[in-house]
Amino acid sequence: MTRREKILAYLEKRTLSMAQGVTTSEISEAIGVLRPNVSKELNQLVREGKIKKTNGRPVRYVVNHAAGNRKIKMEQKPNIGFAGDARISDQSIKEKYTANKNEVDVFENMIGSRGSLKNQVEQAKAALLYPPHGLNTLIIGPTGSGKTYFANKMYHFALDREIISKKGFTVFNCADYAHNPELLMSHLFGYVKGAFTGANDDKDGLIQEADGGILFLDEVHRLPPEGQEMIFYFMDHGTYSRLGETAKSHHADVRLVYATTEDPESSLLQTFVRRIPIIIQLPGFNQRSAREKLQLLEQLLTLEANRIHKNIRLSEDVVQALLGSITYGNVGQLKSNIQLVCAQGFLNSMHNKNEITLHFSQLPPNIKDGLSNLANNRQELGNLSRLLEPTMVIKPDAKRGLPDIDSYELPYNLYEIIGDKAALLKDEGLDQAAINNFIMTDINLHLKSFYRQGKLEKTVSSLNEIVDQEIIDLTKQIQRLLQERENYPVRDNFIYAMSLHISSFIKRVQSGKPLRNISADLISMVHDYPAELKIAERVKDLIEDHYRFPIPESEVYYMAILLVSLKSEPKTGKVGIVVAAHGNSTASSMVQVVSQLLSVDNIAAYDMPLEMSPKVALDGIASQVKNIDQGDGVLLLVDMGSLSTFSSKLTEKTNIRVKTIDMVTTAMVLEAARKTALIDSDLETVYRELHEFDGYSRTIEKVQKKKNDVQKISDQRDKAIIAICSTGKGTARRIKDLLDKILVDNLIDDITVITVSVVNMKEQIAKIQQKYQIVATTGVVKPKVAAPFVSLENLLQGGGESFVSLIEEINNNRAAREAETLEHSEFLTEEMSQKYLGQYFTFINPAKIVKILWNYCDFIQQRSKSKMSNAFRISLIMHMAGALERYLTRSEMSADEQKLSSVRTEKLYPIVKQANEVLHETLNINLSDAEVYYTVELFNTEKEKSDTQNN
């Protein structure tokens, strides 16, 4: 009997004798299960409708005889609240339900249904109402934008309008089984007895289960190709086959709603996009209006208020911090953040029966930062401020609720756990501060799961490794003060640059090194920036206050320089770039590399799968051109001459000037990006320069040779990377040390890292350029140099890896691309294997043997159910050719008995044996067990490698 069954059984028994139900503690004692575990199960059961709980404390539970299973519950409560919605009695919901039916539109009360979601709602209704069976729909939106919520609304709408016959909203997340396509397929389509080991009975899949209702497929981009095909077939014909059947004889009437976070431009989705008539794009949180943001916040807070049955009081700055704390996670993140601060507030206001108060000072740091994030966006802040009251009180409101099918919902009642735990700790005699501390750790643990998926904390932690936490904290304090008191606009890199600066300065003072001199240059430069000098004085005071030692006047000047360099630069229009290339992800992966390396935003990709028609491609490229244009024209990089005629057509279509270059390599894209983004050039100039950059024939060998020659003649200078900080001595030195290590680690010995101070930067760089060719720059400020700039954040976060790939791109620009072509081309792999076989082996006939070994690989791949990369395939073919040749020359490998016996227990051993048996049949060659050992080892090494890569 499981814990859950025990609890249910006990409740059954007790409910008969005691009408008022039992408490968690009673159950815990009676069945001997720890209280928190009981509590968790109970909440789960409440949620499933199997049991009910009473109002008031202690909470008592009774078996819910009225509700048998989940589906009936759906029927009872279309607008389900949330776990533990005790105060909303079933009665009121029922009334509301009957009143609503057929009259009120469920979309009406959805926030934004008349604003940012207006079109989306219209689309959804159209899709559902379209005769006779509606249209399949794809919902696209970033993480946490409310795709599941929206789909749920669609379901309720369909239910209310009686356009679906069955009450069922079946949810399936394709990511859950993405690593095991067969399992996924069996869940979706069902299977017949004997379809695979363990299939002891026929089983229906979710498609059948959803017959007459709606099937919601989340993260549909994770659906494997086999699944896509079957789903498409099902969409077209309404029939499907279960696993193990050949005829598509099953019929189901299912409305399909798909959802994905994927970029609709990605080629994978394009297959879907082409076949699904209705595409609903949900906006991210930041695209919503200030009013809607506030409404969302209120609604989510109301949920929490309902849960704790208390009012929630919060000030303007808490509201702003919460709204500003939303980065990539959208409404889902807002929900998690609200849960976090409410849990904290609940803990701190435990003594107050009617109300909890959220204080700004008590917010976790990442949410506090939200305030400064918001402050950076003046317009948004202005819009919000107009709507905000100094304080906001949220009252529990039974009428507002969200459906509980939601990955952001915790699987237990957090407040109950907090309450229980606090009581427990109090009994133990702990004081309030200790209790709060203890429980906060707990709350964080519970809520961390959301953040663990993202990268929110990563940035600061890597900075942690080089700078003391104390200095980071101090810097944050300075940042806040500057923002609040001085109205100084602060960019993202402020924390990095400032804390590194302070850190190196403090170290200097502590080690007793002489003070820096103030040069005349420095003084004259700073005098152009009186405002920054004034702020620098303030910062100096703050640091003096904190460390309690005097800071020399010269530092104020350096600080002022730093502030000047950190000030945001005004944005100017840049020439846009669109990269269009054949292949499923060739263009987008190149663009990704380049935009990461150079942190540029004027570049877009368009992937063209081979089967795509030119017409579709033209339209697709045109829309990308429109997206990326900032008014100064667009440069189009294409991988085939035939596309170069697009220029005039595109200009005609979009009214944007377009120039086309028929050459795409990562190096080319890099060159284009840095010419457009880093140096202000107009379209004609960039086009002309790029044409010269690669205006020669496209044969790889020739290009290679010419390029080498050209470089040798034109540039005899040594290569250098410039690291910039305000003094050229502090942060820049650290960067130099870091980079030197990375360079050595990558065996790069021909690049020097040179440190430069912001003072006189232009002159210094000009001087360096006489001797060196600058290949990249990094530091607190981006100099005007025709070389990629890597921001401090990127440098420190990636551990310098991005720098290395950048350097490798510069040194030899094709490696990544070739590897990718290799992985995409079967033909190429086979051809190449044959070439290498001829090159390295003496006795075997490459043309004859390559096919046999190719099949050998397929055989093993099929049976071991693991995918081989093309590189590994070549490796295995070469290895097996070696084994055959060793057999022919009677020089087979040897392996000791221990190895031979250990290999027999390997999972792959029988498969390799079978494969060798096939070789035996074809070639009459019988490979020894020692050879089998080495073959299995080859696989193991490969596996070990991919495992370490994945970790």
Binding site: Q704, D749, A815, A819, L822, M832, H879, R886, Y934, K945
Partner: protein, 165 residues
């Protein structure tokens, strides 16, 4: 102190599968250096080689000139590499560049029409023989082994038996 070269190996296929993994484990190296001007220029081969490298050991493909350069550069003293070259001529260039070793491991040299077979897996050309002579004259051992636990055979003996030296 200079770089501690743990093994210099001649193998036409340079780095491949199990053989390299076996050696890397047996002789405790922290880096694999594939030294070949040809491969350093051939991106596809370079990619294949780097992808076939054993887990946990970084692999670089570099030119002969660079090999010699970094060998004498004190910044790279911490390396304990296994050096892989394609043929005896490259091996000679490396040793002439100052890299100190007292034996050379020969795995396989593949046959082509300029070469004759000396053992099952080793074929030599006139230039190769010239290079092997050069090594022999400097007292460098020519050790024939596929994997580390094979018993070692002296290539000089096979060359003499064939009347090539």
């Amino acid at each position: 102190m200079t770089m501690d070269v743990r093994l210099l190996r001649i193998d036409s296929r340079l780095l491949h599968g199990q053989v390299t993994t076996n050696w890397a484990k047996a002789i405790n190296v922290n880096r694999i250096l594939v030294v070949s001007d040809r491969v350093a220029r051939d991106m596809i081969r370079k990619t294949l080689i780097v992808q076939a490298a054993p887990p946990g050991i970084r692999t670089n493909v570099i030119t002969v000139e660079k090999m010699i350069r970094i060998y004498h550069d004190p910044r790279f003293d911490g390396l304990k590499p296994m050096i892989l070259v394609e043929d005896p001529v490259d091996a000679r260039c490396v040793v002439e560049g100052g890299i100190k070793i007292d034996s050379i491991n020969i795995g396989a040299i593949s046959f082509d029409n300029t070469r004759v077979m000396v053992t099952d897996t080793i074929a030599v050309s006139a230039a190769d023989v010239e290079a092997f002579k050069w090594f022999h004259d400097r007292g460098i051992k020519l050790d024939v082994r596929k994997v580390s636990n094979d018993s070692s055979k002296n290539l000089w003996k096979s060359l003499s038996e064939k009347g090539l030296v």
